[in-house]
Symmetry: C2
Subunit: 308 residues, 2 copies
């Protein structure tokens, strides 16, 4: 069975949406990625850091889904990364109210021996120097390295970001970030510019408008499932990435055709994530629910047209 290593934040989130608010709950990119990828039954481990205030039960939630947490360093005297945000009424935009880096500020990632040779590596959104430090600890290049990042790193750590982007296979970013990274408004042109930075595959996430997968002159589109209710978009992008890398790791096939299925799998899982606050929906998701919704994706997108 192929091994999947996930690097990213494990955090407390406090979320306010038009439908309610939470105190500090389990959050973080690596959390959402790993919960999503865990649906594919691959052996996965997280590299991250938390403080002494991080509840053991949260680690147990991850362990219960066969996610190895040996690589989550616990700094007893430190505090866990905390993010607080408030969504606007349309849920398409949000204000960050608090970002307390805490133990994340001086994070030196250490890949546990057990995961030192992962076949699949997911670099969740984090300081690019941390992402790079993980790559540098892995002696044999994984089959596939996927990186997620955001505009904050483009604004503040451009050179470090370019360094890590040069080392990866797949980048996942949103549409605005693709435009910022490339300086191109057209997403087709943006993808072409981003190829030149390193990644051979570019995934552009458009939230409720779906996601585009670019490779050379090929493009594939995975829609978002139209939902009656979106309750909390937190973690949807990470859940998408987790579904993608989970599918890839399970199938061990890194062809473009299989990546199409990967982005559909990611879009499928993200459609569940947004139905409840935080990680709640992802914790009790069943195989049958996922399969049923895959069928909905087929019905949503598949057509039969004669080309003559």
């Amino acid at each position: 069975m192929s091994k999947l290593l996930i690097v990213g934040t494990v955090a407390f989130d406090a979320i306010e949406t038009p439908f309610g608010k939470t105190d500090k709950i389990l959050g973080g990119a690596a959390t959402y990625i790993s919960l999503s990828a865990s649906q594919f039954g691959v052996e996965s481990g997280i590299v991250s850091v938390v403080g002494g205030d991080f509840p053991k039960e949260y680690l147990k939630k991850l362990n219960d889904r066969n996610i190895n947490t040996d690589g989550i360093e616990i700094i007893e005297e430190g505090k866990t990364f905390f993010w607080k945000g408030k969504y606007h009424n349309d849920l398409n935009s949000r204000d960050t109210l608090i970002t307390d880096l805490n133990v994340l500020a001086d994070f030196n990632p250490v890949v546990p021996e057990k995961f030192i040779q992962p076949e699949f590596l997911m670099l969740g959104n984090l300081h690019p120097a941390v992402q790079m430090a993980v790559i540098n600890q892995i002696p044999v290049r994984p089959k596939l390295v996927v990186l997620d990042t955001m505009n904050f790193w483009m604004d503040n750590t451009w050179d470090a970001l370019m360094e890590v982007i040069a080392k990866i296979d797949v980048i996942t970013i949103n549409d605005e970030e693709a435009r910022q990274l490339s300086g191109e408004y057209s997403l087709v042109k943006a993808a072409q510019k981003i190829y030149e930075m390193g990644p051979k595959y570019v995934v552009i996430k458009k939230g409720e408008h779906g996601a585009l997968l670019f490779h050379e002159d090929n493009v594939f589109f995975a829609p978002a499932l139209p939902l009656e209710e979106v309750f909390d978009p937190t973690g949807a992008g990470d859940t998408f990435a987790g579904g993608f890398i989970g599918h890839m790791a399970k199938t061990e096939d890194i062809s473009f055709e299989n990546m199409k299925r990967g982005v559909i799998a990611g879009s499928n899982l993200a459609s569940f994530c947004v139905e409840k606050f935080g990680t709640e929906r992802m914790e009790n998701l069943t195989h049958n629910e996922i399969q049923e919704r895959l069928l909905q994706f087929k019905l949503l997108t598949q057509f039969d047209i004669e080309i003559g």
Copy 2:
């Protein structure tokens, strides 16, 4: 061969985009709809009105594509409807600079005898009372009646709009308009509310983000083709509607399965429309170009995933 009747504006447009500007050129909803539908080789006619200033060569452009213009009334002493607009840098929004209704202000549509029994009826965006007047002249209910409208009529002629919406089969509107019409933010819920107003099929146009087709509990999504360059979005929505009704009229099959192909056909034609100013691209479009791009739509959306 089934007959298609198209009601809508035939107009002068003056357009400014970040890439250039035009003086008065051929425009109008019925113009774009008919040029698009003409690709399907159905017998079509327009009901509209223009002034004495409208060049005969513009009518000839339509006639050259087998579009019957006998129903375009020419009011010699009047002036043609004129719209002037300027697009913002992202091309997703625009300011209307001039709207001179001119002969459109007192338009009494008269359906020519030859088109009094159309199998397919497309009511382009126009005053709902004019749309209704056309329905009232047609003694036998067409196989399919499609209506396009916009927020202006929701703001100003709500009752007249409700009256005509009750009489149609398919409504095409954009996402913001669907929300305004229904009072629901979720497009799934919006479609359900709109069913109750009359139409059994709801098409929600999302511009560069594609289009959704709703019917009962079914939903289908047609993406927009990701393009390197969008030159001028004017007429894209009408071209989409023209491709949809043109496909339906050609195939004479009003099943949901076939409507899926209709929205793909519409999305395909709209992807050409935006490549040049005004109607230019639609005037010289070839069958082969359309078929090649349909293949691109297949590659963009079709995937093969096992559901177990």
